[in-house]
């Protein structure tokens, strides 16, 4: 049952996921029209509250909202004016007083969207919080895989890279497992979260073992500052061991697809060639992101608040 807020994939069940994906498939059709706009959220206001810089996700939400005819307001407070936790909630309450119909929140600290949701009347959609969750990214990944493979159930999905710091990985692990896929992760031991296997995934420190027979190989973005000693000896070593290229990809299934949440560090997580060409589906992920976020806004934003709270 879809609730008021979308804070994480962990909170959703299989039926919710299927409903969101099915709605997104219908929204894709709107994106193929000459006039890419429907009146569904006319007169509704969506606030993009991004405490952490993000061009891609914010733009994707903005386009999605506009295609549904909502008024989309971007609010990106500078970190200096928000040093204290208190001021985050103050900012949120100030926005709430302007009666938005949904607030899309990104913050570098896990749990902030939840705290904001607790303080607000409007539904909150998590656009990424720390290393916790990035539900719309996982949903667009699920949509992309579903449309490439025709199913999720029974697929083998390998997630490669900095799982420890990755909200994308965490949300995808929940999503793929809930829809019946097998999930393996591959990373240097320093970047594998402790007790990750309790989620139901298999962890490998060998790329080859993790992607052996995989239908989907998802590379994660690695922050450059993590490549200098503390977690990984060097960029060169990381890309030699965990960077994907066509040679290493031979161990996956012949028709395996390669995904990346973007932006790609070319030559690090993916070879230049793989970053741009099949079997990578990176631009499909971006394209699907707009339809998926339209689906999320349709399902969560602008419902009568009393009813949304019950839901």
């Amino acid at each position: 049952m879809i609730g008021r807020d979308l804070l994480g994939i962990e909170d959703l069940d299989r039926a919710d996921l299927e409903r969101i994906l099915e709605t997104a498939e219908r929204m894709q059709e709107v994106g193929t029209r000459e006039v890419k706009k429907v009146p569904t959220l006319r007169g509704r206001t969506i606030v993009n509250l991004f405490f952490e810089p993000s061009t891609r996700t914010r733009t994707s939400f903005e386009i999605a909202g506009k295609r549904l005819s909502a008024d989309v307001v971007n609010f990106s407070p500078t970190s200096s004016s928000l040093a204290k936790d208190e001021s985050i909630l103050d900012t949120a309450r100030t926005l709430d007083a302007m009666a938005p119909d949904a607030v899309v929140v990104r913050h570098k600290v896990a749990g902030v969207p939840k705290r904001i949701a607790d303080a607000l009347a409007a539904p909150v959609i998590n656009a990424g919080d720390g290393a916790h969750e990035h539900p719309t990214q996982a949903l667009l990944d699920l949509l992309t895989v579903y449309q490439e493979k025709g199913r999720i159930d029974g697929l083998s999905v390998a997630i490669v890279g900095d799982v420890l710091h990755s909200r994308v990985a965490r949300s995808n692990i929940y999503g793929f497992l809930k829809l019946g896929a097998e999930v393996r992760i591959a990373a240097p031991p320093t970047l594998i979260p402790p007790a990750i296997e309790t989620l139901g995934v298999k962890a490998f420190t060998s790329l080859r073992e993790a992607i052996d027979g995989a239908d989907v190989v998802m590379a994660l973005r690695i922050q450059r500052e993590r490549l200098d000693g503390a977690y990984v000896p060097s960029i060169r070593e990381y890309s030699a061991t965990f960077g994907l290229d066509r040679t290493k990809l031979r161990f996956a299934k012949d028709d395996a697809i390669v995904m990346h949440p973007g932006p790609v560090n070319r030559g690090v997580e993916l070879s230049h060639d793989l970053a741009d060409h099949r079997p990578s589906v990176i631009l499909d992920q971006v394209r699907n992101g707009v339809a998926l976020r339209m689906a999320v806004l349709y399902l969560f934003a602008g419902r009568p608040l009393a009813a949304a709270r019950e839901g």
């Binding site: 709605t23 219908r26 059709e29 709107v30 569904t40 349709y298 419902r303």
Partner: protein, 208 residues
């Protein structure tokens, strides 16, 4: 929230716009059977040809889900009567509904497939049951987002007549006076929309 009236053997059955579920047997009455529906669609095909004489730029656009099998049958009838090969589109009206902000739960979206441009064509909207006129209003708004038809006409297999908007149905299969507390449902075999089709009237909400 499983509906006790949904036949358990039809997990894929999607209710059509006007009504959520198939009823308990015994409370429903069949108002059009498959033969009557076929006959109505033949008559409507004749009326469409008569009214649009010399017009080959017609475009049948079904309102899902109930309008889809009806539009296909109508296209077939028009082909056998006149040799016209007409495009058949499917246009979901959900994103154009006027009651979305009143409902806590968002209705599921249905498929939209518009294989031809609507510009300069006479679009014939096909729906199973016309009642308040609100679905037709939504369909016209949706249609205009696809271009500028030279005309719009409306087919409804059943017209219940409780109009709330100034909308006229051009081709009616059958006028069926109903109580507002009744549902009118087009359905096919085992809850699908496969023939044989029938239209039934059932009391709304089960326990009256």
């Amino acid at each position: 929230m499983p509906n006790p009236h949904t036949p358990p053997d039809s997990p894929t059955a999607r209710p059509t716009a006007q009504q959520p579920a198939a009823p308990r047997s015994g409370e429903e009455r069949v108002v059009l059977d498959d033969t009557a529906i076929r006959r109505a669609l033949v008559r409507i095909a004749h009326e469409v040809l008569e009214r649009n004489e010399g017009q080959s730029r017609l475009y049948l656009v079904a309102i899902p889900n109930g309008g889809v099998p009806l539009a296909r049958q109508l296209a077939e009838n028009l082909r056998s009567l006149s040799g016209l090969e007409l495009p058949v589109g499917i246009l979901d009206t959900t994103l154009y509904r006027d009651d979305l902000t009143l409902r806590g739960e968002r209705p599921p979206l249905r498929r939209t497939e518009m294989p031809s441009a609507v510009d300069g064509r006479i679009v014939i909207l096909v729906d199973d049951v016309a009642n308040t006129g609100r679905t037709i209003r939504a369909a016209m708004d949706a249609l205009m987002d696809f271009g500028r038809p030279s005309g719009v006409q409306v087919v409804a297999l059943v017209d219940r007549g409780h109009r709330e908007l100034p909308i006229r149905i051009d081709y009616v299969g059958k006028n069926i006076p109903t109580h507002a507390r009744e549902l009118v449902i087009l359905r096919g075999r085992d809850g699908s929309l496969e023939p044989p089709l029938e239209v039934v009237v059932v009391p709304k909400g089960g326990d009256a």
